[in-house]
Symmetry: none
DNA sequence: GATAATCCCATTGACACCCATAAAATCCCA
DNA sequence: TGGGATTTTATGGGTGTCAATGGGATTATC
């Protein structure tokens, strides 16, 4: 199965529309889908997306009970914020205002592929976390001396 | 089967009417139903709803954690307060006054999808419980990954 | 007949869909 | 292989349609 990979910076217009990168669209449409499923990340200031098929098991993770004891909080949190956004004729999606706010998006969004899913970041915020990630890796490789 | 997912805030008017979010209506009507079945949650200050089909064989769906004896009690408590609310021509339902009181609803209701069911909350109350839920999850499984 | 419940229509604002443009990538053929 | 032609992509904008909401009319209920 084709995977999401690569980095792409696209414009978010006044209507909240953003083009899904063509390679990502190819993955989606290669599965016969015409929409992307997106939700705000629980732990980071970004949006996470994939084909809707990736989220279909969420329903099963939520205990179909009337009591609070056996619930899966993670599945519930994601399900509550999950949205299915249809691709328009030009391959764009419309981001809900709450999503734009949660990811601190302004007029640009950076798409980064992560295999089975992709993320959308405010470009500067992504640069910051990527830099921190690189430093962690560097520190792990050179535990003794950083210079 | 299509599931309830996403978050939507709608107005509750002076007559107690509230629009069921269009995506939720699509799920209901996709099953050939023209009404929603709703009851106050036994343990939280919110309303829980779904297609009426969910409430058939109620005893079998109660969480196992309750044990056989209390299970019937739970089923009875739910059935006693369960209401079938028809959708009007514009996709709205009329909430009974007792339901509005039990969920502390004022002029707005937040619908959150949870797979097979959905819940209706007073917006501020939902924000509080979601925040608490996220903190529980963060503390419990932040080191783990979602994939 | 009075009160409540249901139905019907009107408004507005958001969104889906359509077309247009520019830039980049790809193709194609001499 | 070069360079023009074609296609794809990203983006901007207009417009019709539908969702959400408000208010009134009609019917049901007691």
């Amino acid at each position: 199965m084709k995977a999401f990979f690569g980095t792409f910076v696209n414009k978010v217009d006044a209507k909240g529309r953003v083009s899904v990168p063509a390679p990502f669209r190819a993955v989606i449409q290669g599965r016969g889908l015409t929409s992307v499923a997106i939700h705000p990340s629980l732990f980071e200031s970004c949006l996470e997306g994939a084909g809707f098929d990736r989220f279909e098991n969420l329903e099963a993770q939520i205990a179909d009970s009337f009591g609070p004891s056996t619930r899966d909080d993670v599945a519930e949190l994601i399900m509550a914020e999950l949205r299915e956004l249809p691709l328009d004729g030009e391959g764009r999606i419309v981001l809900p205002d709450e999503f734009i706010a949660k990811a601190n998006l302004k007029d640009q969004a950076t798409f980064i592929g992560q295999g089975r899913r992709f993320q959308m970041w405010e470009p500067a915020a992504l640069a910051t976390v990527m830099k921190a990630k690189l430093q962690r890796v560097t520190a792990a490789l050179k535990p003794k001396d950083m210079s």
